[in-house]
Amino acid sequence: MQGAAWHDARVTQTQSDYRLSQLDQLEAESIHIFREVAAEFEKPVLMFSGGKDSIVMLRLAEKAFYPAKIPFSILQVDTGLDFPEVMETRDRWVARLGVNLVVASIDDAIKNGIIPDAAKISRNRLQIPTLLNAIEENGFTAAFGGGRRDEEKARAKERVYSHRDEFGQWDPKNQRPELWSLYNGRLHEGEHMRIFPISNWTELDVWDYIGREGIEIPDIYFSHQRRVFERDGMLMSETPLNPLRDGEVVSERTVRFRTCGDITLTGCVESTASTIDEIIDEVAVARKTERGATRGDDRFSEAAMEDRKKEGYF
């Protein structure tokens, strides 16, 4: 019960100087955002990937409305290429919080003719129309995402309330001003807002928070033995979903993941970090960004993230 012990400590500590640590300030800001959105939007939804950032979002949402349940659903885009460990963690969180889970599956979207069955288009790109279709079909007016500004240079530019037009597109050159903590949620018919409540958190903050709160994240973030092969300078999981190419050799290594995405595009790093504290030590001295080190989907071009975001990506 790490979380509970910490709260007790804070009450006595803050009585003396009325200061909040930077992590507490971030938490307070995120909770404020969750409550604003719940109050002002007709039908918000939380986009849940199962990764550490979306789990931190869930925890913040839990705290924002406690002891009431989280007053919106959770949406997951099922790529069919997700790590099984991630799905198991997702199910436990959903059961514990008693929230409604909406799954938008790429396979179903193809079957129902909503998106084209194009073998040439990567699953990663197919997430975009699947997501936009789910938002439109369910009438969601605001979708929380776990994007952080420290992750990537296009994300570093995005507002907390990020406006999407009726095609789900982001217009980075024409964003609305966003002043103080006065968020503007005005929408026209068919438009929606992406909301990034943990915009100002860094990778290290996320880990500190997970440690402090003592919350469950998928095992793949911790060091484990895995059969992997090298591709484009990254270590990829051996899986039937991702057939080996010529010259690729599988070997067993001690690894962990820094991000959780599509199993065919997300690489792992060699690591013996098996506790949160060890991960924090590792992150603090890391020389590469988490996405640069382990995300094939961001490597296509210099503006890969910006281009996908313009189309409606998370």
């Binding site: 709260h7 909040l20 307070a28 420290d150 240079k153 002043l179 103080w180």
Partner: protein, 419 residues
């Protein structure tokens, strides 16, 4: 090296286009070892392919395709780094006058404003405009960084002249704390490392100043203000009678037992308890997000404000404020707009534009009865609902509002209440 007990400093860059703001942020991150290898490699590769003589550090923050093509900043970039004692949130804002609204966005939450001036050019209209905006926004600490000292042979006279000129201008503004530092963002002089080229300068480096500037005293712990965001009413058997008012403390210290008044209704009660998630706490203060419970079953909803009986804002429908206008169609008397103040929304009618501020001379122009894009002026409004306001000089949260165009839904004005 846990970040859990660090404090936080938010700062924003400001100044004319090409004065070196983004380069400076790149330099600050690089010299404090906050740049990852893959980020630096990408920026080096782009610089080489564009045929630059040196690595363009501005590319570390200018992340949009159009910014890289045009070599200017268009929208705010947020960057993060930490030293053992402090975490920094940097807003690198654009200097171009067309994107002033984005500069205001980045500066509105800043504890410190970092104004850059090109040593060769001295103060420009845009440096003055940004200094005026920072002072109106009551950003409590200001740093003037005289940049590109390498291009003026690190000449002390050039620095002293700009220093004097700015200090003189700043006397007319509200600048409680000013530091002036000669730097070269490109070469790193006085950014993180002390310059060898300017032995005549004995003040702090920029980094040293950022790490030590005192920010704790900038909050109001006297006047309790709690705008209600959300009423928590669990529909469950276990918490059947739970009724809590969720919000973020905007001022003062709240404690169980405090006699409070709910505005605008004026009903009074006492705080029975304060929840922080599943724990009861004995005090709540800014910027904590908490849930407050009252002893009596008074009617409280979103948009209401909880304050102390003997220290409450006055509900008012007549608002007198400085407004920064951010859209191409000018603000004119009789115009109707939506207004958002704390958690309260309503409509506002522009009654009068008392004057337009000339950012160069600080002259109050009473002839022009409108505000063009990026202009600042004193405006009076009549609102449909009473707002629970304090002067912006007392409280940045309860003293600020935004104006929204009702047709487009876009935020078009930023207001700071006078008084």
């Amino acid at each position: 090296m846990a970040t859990t007990d660090m404090d936080l400093l938010r700062f924003a860059t400001a100044g004319s286009v090409d004065d070196g703001k983004s380069t400076l942020i790149g330099r600050l991150l690089l010299d404090s070892k906050a740049i990852f290898e893959d980020q630096l490699e990408a920026v080096e590769a782009t610089s080489v392919s564009k045929g630059y003589d040196y690595t363009d550090l501005a590319l570390l923050t200018d992340g949009l395709r159009s910014e890289r093509e045009q070599g200017i900043t268009i929208d705010v970039a947020y960057r993060y780094f930490a030293t053992p004692s402090r975490k920094f949130i940097i807003a690198d804002t654009p200097g171009h006058v067309q994107y002033t609204r984005n500069m205001v966005t980045g500066a509105s939450t800043a504890d410190l404003g970092l104004v850059l001036v090109d040593a060769r050019q001295g103060l420009t209209e845009q440096s003055r405009r940004h200094a005026v905006i920072l002072s109106l926004l009551r950003v409590p600490h200001l740093v003037l960084a005289v940049n590109k000292m390498d291009l003026v042979d690190f000449d002390q006279e050039v620095f002293d002249k700009i220093h004097r000129e700015f200090t003189q201008f700043a006397t007319k503004l509200n600048v409680p704390d000013l530091e002036v530092i000669p730097i070269s963002a490109l070469q790193g002089d006085n950014v993180v490392n002390r310059s060898e080229h300017m032995p005549w300068y004995s003040g702090p480096t920029l980094m040293h100043h950022l790490e030590h500037v005192h920010v704790a005293s900038d909050r109001d712990l006297i006047d309790a203000r709690f705008p209600v965001q959300f009423v928590v009413r669990p529909k469950s058997d276990e918490f059947h009678d739970y009724r809590g008012y969720a919000g973020q403390v905007a001022g003062g210290i709240l404690k169980p037992g405090d006699e409070i008044v709910v505005l605008p209704s004026g009903m009074t009660s006492k705080i029975s308890k304060i929840d922080l998630f599943d724990k009861e706490i004995t005090e709540a203060f800014p910027p904590m997000s908490v849930t407050v419970h009252l002893e009596d079953d008074v009617d409280v909803s979103r948009g209401d404000m909880i304050a102390r009986v003997n220290n409450a804002p006055t509900p008012s429908q007549d608002i007198d404020a400085m407004v920064c206008w951010m859209t191409n169609t000018p603000l004119q008397p009789r115009q109707k707009l939506a207004i958002k103040h704390t958690t309260r929304t309503g409509r506002a009618l522009v009654k009068d534009i008392a004057y337009r501020l000339d950012v160069n001379t600080l002259h109050r122009d009473q002839e022009t009865k409108e505000l063009g894009v990026n202009e600042i002026g004193r405006v009076t409004l009549r609102t449909t609902v009473p707002l629970l306001v304090d002067p912006y000089s007392k409280n940045r949260t309860t003293g600020s509002f935004i104006l929204i165009d009702e047709a487009t839904g876009v935020t078009v004005g930023a207001g700071m209440i006078n008084g």
